[in-house]
Structure formats: C-alpha cells, structure tokens
Symmetry: C2
Subunit: 222 residues, 2 copies
DNA sequence: ACTAACATACCAACCAGTTGGTATGTATCG
DNA sequence: CGATACATACCAACTGGTTGGTATGTTAGT
C-alpha cells in the first residue's frame, strides 16, 4: 500500500524529487558518502527511476549543481538587498544578507557546489566544472554593483590603479563565504563564520572609505 | 627500560607509512572516496597491518588530522616569516608566505583538515573535532603577533573599541585560506586563490593603517 | 501500437572489518 | 643459560553487506 502524497506541483515528478532530495542529502553527507540508494530512499523513488533520468551518479551530480544554480539564482534575485539606491549599499546589504542567513542547521545554509567541488575536483572534472560555473555565475551577479561603486569614487573597475578589480572582489566575497562554511562545519556551528563575514563587510567598507564621493578632498567618515 | 618516547624508526614503520600515505591520498581523493585498501596500497602494507594500528577507518582519520597538525606545526615554525622585528610585518609576511606556497598541484598546497572537516562534519564528529583542533590551533599561532600589532597602535586586542578581536582576525585568515582552497579546487588551479589572499593582505593593511593620529594613508605593496 | 516513465530483481566489484596465523621480540623464573 | 610466557607487528585469505549499474519488466498517456 502506497502512502498518498497530497501535495503536488506535478512537473517532472521523479526527476524533480531526486534533484530536491540530492540538494539536502549531499549537503548533509557529502557527494561521495551519498549512495544512489540514499538518494532514491530520500526521494521516495526506485533505482529504476533514478537511472531512467540520469545516466550515472556523476550525471546526477552535474544536474544537481545546475539545479542548485537555478534555485539559488531565484532565491538571491528575490532577496531584499537589491532595493538600495546606492550600488555600494547594495553590495554591503548583500554581505549582511549572507551573514544573516548563516543560522540554524549546517545543511540549511551550507553551499552544495562548494561541497561537491571539493570532493570531486580530482575524481570528476565534469562535476567540478559545473560547480565552478555555479560559483562564478553567482559572483558575477555582484560585478555590476561593485563596478558602479568603484566608478562613483573615481576608481577603475578593471583595477588598473588600485590593484584590485570588481571581478576579483566579487570572487573574494565567495571565497570568504566558502571558507566560512568550512569553518562552520569544523566548529559544528555558524558562530565563527559570522565573524568572518563581518570582517568581509569591514574590508569592503574600508576599500571604499579611502575616497569619498565627488570631492577629491580626504574626509574619512567617523 | 623504555623511555616515554616510543617513536623510533622501528616502531613507526607501517603506522608511519599509512599516515604519510593518508595525507596525500585523502587530499587528492577526499576522505569518503578513499578506501582502506587505497591507503594500504599507497603505503605498501596489508590490511592486517592497517587494522593492527588503527581500530577503524575513523580512527585513521583522527590520527591523520593529528599527524597533519604536527607536521604543519613544524613546517610553519621553521618558515621564514617569523624573522621580522615588527609584529604587523610578521603577520603580513605570514599571509605573503601562504600566498606564495599556493602553487603547483592542488594536492600539494591544499589543506587536509579542511577537506576532512567538510566531509565528516555530519558523519563523524570525532574527525571533525580533530580537524577543528588543527585549524584553531594553527590560527592561535597568529594571535600573539596580531595582538601585539594592535597594542602598538593603541587598539585593544579583545576588540572592545574596534569591534574585532585579535583572535577573530586570526581565524579570519584561516577562513580566507580555506575558501581559497575551495575556489582553487573548483577552478582547477590556484590563480584566483592568489587574488583572494591578496585581498586578505590588503584588508590587514587597511585595518592597521587607520590610526587615530592618521600619519599615513596607504602605500603600494613592496 | 508506441513511447516515456517508472518498478523489480539482480549482478559483479568493492567496501570496512575479521579471522587465524607467523615472525620476532622481551621479560621472568628455575 | 635456557625454557616458558606473553606482547608486538605484521600478513593472506575471508566475510557479510553495500556499491553503481543493468536487464527486464509493467503501467499510463497519446
């Protein structure tokens, strides 16, 4: 006798269930330690369904990275930090937002593609590449705001004068966040990770505090 | 009569070979993807020897984290960045040193305990705790220099005035480095990781450049 | 009738861990 | 000195369970 599943949103039933299950199970146990049977049990489907939709476990890994990329894209696109008028304020609000969602269980705020990239970088370049695309793609959503904030202060976004570009700072935010996840996992909680994201916010403030808007005269805010 | 130091060439043979093999194999393949047989083959010993010295794969993981902690302690204690007279210079030289060793193959500069912490934080708290001890222990070696640099500039090392403590900045350096390893693994090379460590160095310089009497602003990296 | 979407049953390779054994100590006692 | 006793270090073969993957269905929609 099957348990009835009242809630639907029936799109690609089994495939979506596997993908959704993959996001949480792999974030908890890791990619290598997650078996195909684990995934099937968590998704409530059989192995036949799994291999009907995915050629291999590796193919599932790649699909999971892409699925993660899509769902997080929507999540961040709808996040409230975009509402600020000033580009720099948007960047700072983004960092604050990332810090604020660092709470609860580890598997709830941790990054799927960061986890998978670490485990598969030698064993499956295809998965690692998909993870890299997700991370780099998300970092790129910050490029425009950082570049605008730089231009507001007379800085060149390609970093010719400062030694740092908008793109490299955007990537650096992801580096700090990925590192924060590792430290949080080692510690067993997000407390220390918060501090590091605060350091990141302070860094960005210091970077843009060195030169006020419009006037060329030095006037550090106090 | 035996000394309390049982570590000699004859007692350490198989155990040491397994531990040494574990450092490189787990850094390459990850903890979960590394089988006991993999370790035995790499070490050139049999499985019987493995389970004679380690009660389980988990026990090996804990021992490997401790072994890593010991070998890296020696490595960094002997590193040249301690030679500077000024505490801040020592911290900046440390960061420069960390950036400079980010080269070659990924398994050569990557962190064993960061890798293992990520994979085992849910499945084996014992291993994750050993990893945390290694990371926190290494971060603590920076505490004294950062605290001294803060006192030199009239800042309180516990962060009462600035909002950041010496300990939290020390931990933040490890966060950035761990994040840099993830990004390097995702990218397949250390290029972008370099940039992030440069951002970290710039952050520390900015942090200590803002003096109350405002003597100098910023200077290009030498 | 044809196809996509599942399910059931199964497999060979591999997994962590165990077994019973050997070789080489080394401490104790007659 | 030599015999007994016990400990350490290691090994080859094995075990029960798990792995990713396959072969062969069955069902539902068109």
């Amino acid at each position: 006798m099957k348990t009835d599943e009242p809630q639907t949103a029936r799109t690609g039933t089994a495939r979506d269930k596997i993908l959704t299950a993959a996001l949480s199970v792999i974030r908890m146990k890791g990619y290598a330690a997650t078996s195909v049977d684990d995934l099937c049990t968590a998704a409530g489907v059989t192995k036949g369904a799994f291999f009907h939709h995915f050629d291999s476990k590796e193919a599932l890994g790649i699909a999971a990275a892409k699925h993660w990329s899509e769902t997080t894209s929507i999540f961040f696109a709808e996040a409230p930090y975009h509402k600020h008028a000033d580009p720099l304020e948007r960047v700072l609000a983004y960092i604050r937002f990332r810090r604020d969602i660092l709470q609860g269980e580890l598997a709830e705020f941790t990054c799927l593609v960061g986890t998978m990239a670490q485990e598969t970088h030698q064993t499956s370049r295809a998965i690692a590449d998909a993870c890299n695309a997700a991370i780099s793609g998300h970092a790129a959503t910050l490029d425009a705001d950082i570049a605008a904030a730089m231009r507001d202060r007379g800085l060149n976004p390609d970093g010719s004068a400062t030694g740092w570009s908008a793109a490299s700072l955007a990537l650096h935010t992801q580096t700090v966040l990925q590192g924060a996840f590792i430290i949080a996992k080692a510690r067993g909680g997000p407390a220390v990770a918060h501090d590091s994201v605060d350091h990141l916010a302070r860094y960005v403030r210091l970077l843009f505090a060195s030169k006020p808007d419009r006037t060329r005269n030095e006037r550090p805010p106090s």
